[in-house]
C-alpha cells in the first residue's frame, strides 16, 4: 500500500478513495505515479499540470521525478502555497 495526500486545491478534485491504494503495477518512480494518476483521474491530472506541483515523499521534498516509489511510502502533492 502507498498513502497519497492531496493538499489545497488538489484535495478538491482527488477522490477520497485515493488516500490509500496498492502500488499500481508498473509504477516505480514519482514520474510513473504522476502519469498513472493523470490517466486514472483526468481532472486531478489537469489540475496538477496547470500549476507548479511539488512532491513530498515520506515528509521529505523530492527534487526529481525519477525518485523511486516503494510500498509503504507516503506521497504528498502540493500546489503553490499561501500561508501567512
Amino acid at each position: 500500500m502507498i498513502r497519497l495526500v492531496f493538499l489545497g486545491k488538489f484535495g478538491d478534485v482527488a477522490p477520497a478513495g485515493l488516500a490509500e491504494i496498492s502500488l499500481p503495477g508498473g509504477v516505480r518512480t514519482l514520474g510513473d505515479l504522476q502519469s498513472w494518476l493523470a490517466r486514472q483521474q483526468p481532472l486531478l491530472g489537469r489540475a496538477m499540470a496547470a500549476t507548479r506541483t511539488r512532491l513530498i515523499v515520506n515528509q521529505c521534498v523530492a527534487h526529481d521525478l525519477s525518485c523511486p516509489v516503494a510500498d509503504g511510502d507516503e506521497i504528498a502533492f502540493l500546489p503553490p502555497m499561501s500561508g501567512g
Binding site: 493538499l7 515528509q59 502540493l78 503553490p80 502555497m81 499561501s82 501567512g84
Partner: protein, 153 residues
Amino acid sequence: MQVRLTDRIFDPQAETAAFTAGRDDAGALVSFVGTCRAATDGGAVEELRIDHYPGFTEKEITRLAQEISRRFDCPDLLVVHRVGRIRPGEAIVLVAALSVHRAKAFEAVKLLMDYLKTDAPLWKKESGPDGARWIEPRDEDHARRIAAEKGWV
C-alpha cells in the same frame, strides 16, 4: 524559537505577553499579526479555510524560522499559525522577534512573513457569498521573496 500550529482561536496579545514574560535583557520586540479580513479584493469573506500537511508543515516553518534566526542573529522568534476554519476578525498568524536592538528584529519579522507567504506549506481557501476560491501567492509576494533570498532587502 517556538513554532506552533493551532486549529483553535488564539489571542496574539496573550501569546506575545507569554513570549516576552520576564525578559528584561532584550529591549526590542517586533510583532506582526495577520487577521482574517471581512472583505478582500475578491469580495466579502465569510470563512477562510487553511489546509496544512501535518508534520511536514511544522517542519518546514521551523526550517524557515531557523534560517531567519541565523541570518539576523535573532534566536528569540515566535510563530503561531492557525489552520482549519477561520472567521473574519480572528488572528491567522503571529510572528514575533525579541532582540537587543530593533533593526534586526524588524528585518527578522518582515522576512519571515515574506517566507511564510510563499514557502510555508499552507493553503488558504476563501469562502463568501459568491462561492469559494483557493488563494495563491500574488506576484508581489514572489517578488518580495526573491528579493529576500538574494539579500536585497
